[in-house]
């Protein structure tokens, strides 16, 4: 995987911050993505480049089950979300749509927005500021869903 820039957010970052309620009924994720992180950093959708990383603290993505949350991050080209821990629905949704979500206990405290990092999912490591941090590997079942690009491709590969 390639090097990307970090956008760092706080602990207990909830799904209302990732994409506020009033945009959830817009017709498509493409229309919603311009409102990602609107309350915290209205320029985020313009600043983030494909391959960049979102870094969070504990309990990233807590709150609602809105799949629009990982959806807009993926649509904006975010390579992966790296956090100390994730709320479960966000985690599950991200994997289901093929957005890597990486648990890494040490890295979030050592980096700031604007830093660069590099992620190796195969090795289970993240590199930033000259240090290498271990990441928790996904259970094989989830890794398999992710490798297929999410849950829907797996559905289409099934023999009917």
């Amino acid at each position: 995987m390639s090097v990307g820039k970090i956008f760092k957010f706080h602990n207990d970052l909830d799904t209302d911050q990732i994409i506020p309620s009033q945009y959830l009924l817009l017709p498509s994720i493409e229309e919603m993505k311009a409102h990602a992180f609107e309350s915290l950093d209205p320029e985020f959708p313009q600043k983030v480049k494909p391959g960049d990383f979102v870094v969070g603290g504990e309990n990233f993505g807590c709150g609602s089950s809105r799949e629009q949350a990982p959806g807009v991050l993926k649509a904006l080209g975010v390579q992966a979300v790296v956090a100390k821990s994730f709320a479960r629905i966000f985690y599950r949704n991200a994997i289901n749509i093929g957005l890597p979500v990486i648990v890494c206990k040490e890295l979030p405290d050592q980096v700031e927005t604007g830093d660069e990092m590099e992620l190796s999912m195969a090795d289970g490591t993240a590199k930033a500021k000259g240090n290498t941090y271990p990441c928790t590997k996904l259970p094989p079942y989830m890794q398999q869903i992710l490798n297929q690009g999410g849950l829907i491709p797996s559905l289409n590969e099934e023999v009917i």
């Binding site: 009924l25 709150g63 609602s64 289409n156």
Partner: protein, 416 residues
């Protein structure tokens, strides 16, 4: 080895004898619920992403329009129309404007022992009847709709031993906010909160819904009560039968245990912008408010309306406060109408809206403006949740919210 209620439900749904925490199983889902927050995306994916679009069993599906009711914009209307047309074409049970999804599900569908996916995080509410309900995204929901199955990582269970009885003037919502305040917003992450003990037995099914509903605010996958006689009577009164009635085994494994003495709980409030920032209500008394909200899948039931009406009776809502009262369902509304509660709210100057999610989700009704303050019985107080990013939301019980609406500032029932 012994199993908890949640483990037994998963085992039954997976068709295996035994499951343990950490296992991943493929389960057959008993039911799936989807609301207007995401269904338009599910329908789009159904039409565009699938090679062979199909629905395993339309009878297991329930679609509920509850988030933006009545519709507030052409785009909302388009999303809801997509959902309505899909339900009609595929003979899916469809509810619109009849109430908040979880309340409708409890009133009409949920049975003990069932494993239910809902495309809404507060699907954990169904544990009040001894069912395993959990929130998922629309891709999961689509997968479940197409195959009738899904995968589940068996969660660990935390035991919450409830003892004693809530004092007068203290409500299940105070209890649950206290619990979340103590264990934190990720205190039960990926886990099941199982409520038991003699204190649990004193709670009505409606009370249990308050507790289970908010479990996701502690990160829980779900929350669950044993389906005791109280639950079974409630179910029988609605003409439904359980799928299975489970108790946790004596030797079931719990990852952690907490004990809460209900008799020691006091009125509390969650401060902006986190549900686990819980303080005694008296610490924030005097905070000026602009709006108050009594409603939601957490606190919009008849008990809550009774509490609110008992405080509003003979009083007026403060001039500078907009007090929204939004029953959780039409059934709740009609009960409140029968009891004369609607009259009390209307006389007091409250805004009584049709059953829907309203300002709890902050998108179309009672939206608050710049620097405004809302006290709410809703589920969340995240930054900007109810409107402008600079606005603030406090969460309190129906009593605290109603008293605050009268006073024009945060106030508890006893101080009014």
């Amino acid at each position: 080895m012994g199993m908890t209620i949640a483990e037994k439900i998963i085992a039954l749904a997976a068709g295996v004898e035994e499951v343990k925490a950490g296992d991943i199983h493929t389960v057959t889902l008993d039911r799936m619920m989807s609301n207007d927050g995401t269904t338009h995306l599910t329908v789009d994916m159904y039409h565009t992403k699938l090679k062979n679009p199909r629905i395993a069993d339309p009878k297991k599906m329930v679609f509920i329009v509850d988030h933006n009711v009545p519709s507030d914009s052409p785009k909302t209307a388009a999303a809801q129309k997509k959902m309505r047309d899909f339900a009609r074409e595929n003979e899916i049970d469809f509810w619109e404007g009849k109430g908040v999804c979880h309340q409708i599900m409890m009133e009409h569908y949920v049975c003990p022992g069932e494993l239910i996916f809902g495309a809404d995080s507060h699907t954990c509410t169904y544990g009040a009847l001894g069912a395993f309900g959990t929130g998922v995204g629309c891709t999961d929901l689509l997968y479940g709709m197409v195959t009738g199955t899904s995968w589940v990582l068996v969660p660990e269970t935390i035991k919450f031993n409830l003892t004693g009885k809530l004092p007068r003037g203290v409500y299940p919502r105070d209890l649950m906010l206290t619990i979340i305040g103590q264990i934190g917003a990720s205190g039960a992450s990926y886990q099941v909160m199982e409520f038991c003990g003699d204190g649990a037995g004193t709670l009505s099914v409606d009370d249990r819904m308050v507790l289970c509903n908010l479990a996701v605010e502690a990160g829980a996958k779900t929350a669950i009560f044993e389906a005791d006689q109280t639950a079974l009577d409630w179910l029988a009164a609605r003409g439904r039968k359980p799928k299975a009635v489970f108790k946790s085994d004596e030797d079931a494994v719990y990852v952690k245990e907490y004990t809460f003495d209900l008799g020691k709980i006091q009125p509390v409030v969650a401060r902006p912008d986190f549900v686990d920032d819980v303080v005694l209500a008296k610490e924030v008394v005097g905070t000026r408010i602009d709006e108050a909200f009594l409603g939601s899948c957490n606190n919009g039931r008849i008990d809550d309306l009774r509490v609110g009406a008992s405080i509003l009776k003979g009083r007026k809502v403060s001039d500078h406060v907009r007090f929204l009262v939004v029953p959780a369902s039409q059934e709740v509304y009609l009960a409140a109408l029968e009891e004369g509660l609607i009259r009390v709210f209307m006389d007091s100057g409250a805004i009584v809206m049709n059953p829907n999610c309203s300002v709890c989700w902050g998108s179309c009704q009672g939206v608050i403006g710049e620097n405004e303050v809302l006290i709410s019985t809703g589920t969340r107080n995240f930054k900007g949740r109810a409107g402008h990013p600079s606005s603030k939301v406090y969460l309190g019980s129906a009593a605290t919210v109603a008293a605050s609406a009268v006073k024009g500032e945060i106030c508890t029932e006893d101080l009014l």
